[in-house]
Symmetry: C2
């Protein structure tokens, strides 16, 4: 019995190894897979057969002459069967993305809202409707949605799916994962963390960076060697509450002088003199900047300076390779990137040869929902055996 368990564990590990190598290389023959994994060709053929049966890989049709032996058919990750739902519940929008195992985005639904000081159940109900609609559409095209990831603007207990506190929603201790009830497993996570992972898997493609999420709140996600750094209790990355000036303006978190009060979306729009960005949108702000509007340019300088101050603290503490600015900082980058880099550089010049480069996010506000979906897909790649068991065991394939 112990032997059988061991065999299953080894098979599970090898299935994951093979799937991972196929993804890394784009496509591979069974012979090449045997070479890169160190497994025998017989074992690889069996494992590839299982992955084909589960719909996780597909033969490309391309035939390549191997270095030894007869030509082989290549396999690649299949985007036709397994998919994941990426959800974001934020202060001013709800977003749903369906992403397949080949990391193609198959469906995008976004709804503009104002969730400030909202009733959690109302907002969760809105998101649920959007998510169920996406689920139905995805399953209608033959995709099997195996799980959902949900990005929320605040620290989360990942185990229980409970939001600990989301000051900008006015929520505390909301069990959002359980309340959403989509009929598929849901993993809830802080939006900045997921945006960082989105950037890792769908955007800049670097393996070491600090992603800065400029939304109503400001979060950060630290990616180290291709993995998210979560901290001891999962609360790492609260860049928005890093001190800019200890006796500065009162923050919604209860402290004073937090970065969010200088460079958060609300503070920024206040400085611009525009309190209705949800009507005008960031595009209007960008247009003002393009026309050289002095107040808007000054608001960028102020926000950029504060961001540079807080990032210099972050760089001193965690030494990220690169800074990636996302959220509203992505469209504002041409006007804000320079002052951020200058402020950082000025503070850091003597301690290190050079400050980390400041780059713009490739995904903007889509990053978190993509990261949420990507995280579900990672669990599939980490343990394809568990998924094929689930697909086989499940008697009721349709989501409730």
């Amino acid at each position: 019995m112990a032997q059988a368990v061991r065999h299953d564990a080894m098979r599970a590990r090898n299935l994951s190894l093979v799937l991972r190598e196929v993804r890394t290389h784009g496509s591979l023959t069974r012979a090449s897979l045997a070479e890169v994994t160190g497994l025998t060709k017989t074992t690889v053929s069996k494992l590839v057969g299982d992955l084909l049966d589960a719909g996780l890989v597909v033969e490309t049709g391309a035939v390549r002459a191997g270095e030894r032996g007869r030509p082989g058919v290549e396999v690649r990750v299949s985007g036709d069967r397994v998919a994941a739902l990426g959800l974001e519940l934020n202060v001013d929008y709800l977003a749903v993305r369906v992403v397949d195992l080949a990391r193609r985005v198959r469906l995008r639904l976004t709804q503009t809202v104002d969730n400030r000081l909202s009733e959690p159940l109302d907002v969760i109900g809105d998101l649920r409707r959007l998510a169920l609609s996406a689920l139905a559409q995805a399953e209608g095209t033959g995709l099997r949605v195996v799980g959902a990831g949900l990005a929320v603007p605040g620290p989360v207990d990942v185990e229980s799916g409970e939001i600990h506190s989301a000051p900008n929603l006015g929520w505390r201790n909301v069990p959002v994962g359980a309340a959403l009830d989509l009929g598929v497993p849901i993993r809830v996570e802080n939006e900045a963390n997921l945006a960082a992972l989105g950037e890792l898997w769908f955007g800049v493609g670097r393996a070491d960076f600090l992603y800065v999420s400029g939304e109503i709140g400001i979060g950060a996600g630290l990616v180290v060697n291709g993995a998210l750094f979560r901290g001891a209790r999962g609360f790492a990355g609260e860049l928005g509450h890093v001190v800019v000036t200890p006796e500065g303006p009162q923050c919604r978190c209860g402290a004073r002088g937090c970065l969010e009060q200088y460079a958060g979306q609300d503070a920024f729009f206040d400085a611009v003199g525009d309190r209705s960005p949800y009507a005008h949108g960031i595009d209007a702000i960008v247009a003002q900047l393009e026309h050289g509007d002095a107040a808007t340019l000054a608001a960028c300088d102020k926000a950029g300076w504060a961001l540079g101050v807080a990032l210099s603290s972050a760089i001193n503490l965690v030494d990220p390779h690169t800074i990636v600015l996302g959220g509203i900082y992505a469209p504002l980058f041409p006007w804000i990137g320079g002052v951020v880099a200058e402020t950082m550089g000025g503070r850091l010049a003597q301690l290190r040869a050079q400050a980390p480069p400041v780059e713009v996010s490739q995904l903007g506000s889509e990053a978190a929902a993509l990261g949420a979906a990507g995280q579900v897909l990672e669990t599939v790649v980490a343990d394809p055996a568990a998924l094929s068991e689930r697909l086989t065991d499940r008697r009721d394939p349709a989501p409730r």
Copy 2:
């Protein structure tokens, strides 16, 4: 040939595995080692034989009846053969420690100095004399010193052993590892990083904490799952240059309002009105505090407040499980710990259920030198095979 290399690599890995398990459990029989490692008893016996030959483990003499089969002799890590040198070059002292593989401190040499704005070669010469004396004494007792670790107060290029910048010494780009020239491999590292590792291996024994090193400079070492977090370029943990007030007093690093200007040893002694701490020592300060001296108590409050502000930024960013205050903060802890915890707690209260606990270092200013030695011992445990080859190959056993 490829097969032979594989066999050597497997043996090396298994030697490390066995040595690690022996250390973790304190002592184990060969039969128990076979159980915990999953290796066969024959393999374990061969590996234990090799470790005995290399002097890395020793039989305890204790005989324990196994669950199955005949009673076995237990082995434990041997402290009698292999040792490491831990060095610290700091602004106001030089320290040398000899630590054996069983993590016992065998020799302590400390020299009080004033290295501010010093000539690197003079200071390195002083440290070299101290280290050679320790080496000779250690080898005289039959220990083989297999390497040295050196802690320095500033960011380091670990690869080259070069100090990038040590503002409080007035040094830039000093290849201290090469200059020290002790006849054993030397690994140079930031003192706060090594103090954190010292605390991990010789002190509090936790696996997740942020160690704060209060010296002339203030550094921090983040330990995550029992490993040091170094950052992308190895410069993580520069807590002393986290912003307290962006336009505050000028710091030696070139920026303004860094934590060091509020809570570093010099700033603290300035606030106390005592510029000769090297004459009077921290003990005099502690005596003043015990007598309720108002200026000294006020200096503790100011330093503790600034430390609490900077730590709240650090906690928001990296979410450590526990804060461990070391260096001068260890003797000052009864007067500084409370205000640090209060300031942190006040800023963090609404974002998380509770702020991380603040604890006092178990090692004080000895932490970095112990961590430096401990890091060398870790390389032995990680690859005992490499060491036994080196011991065999080396024609000239005495250090130059």
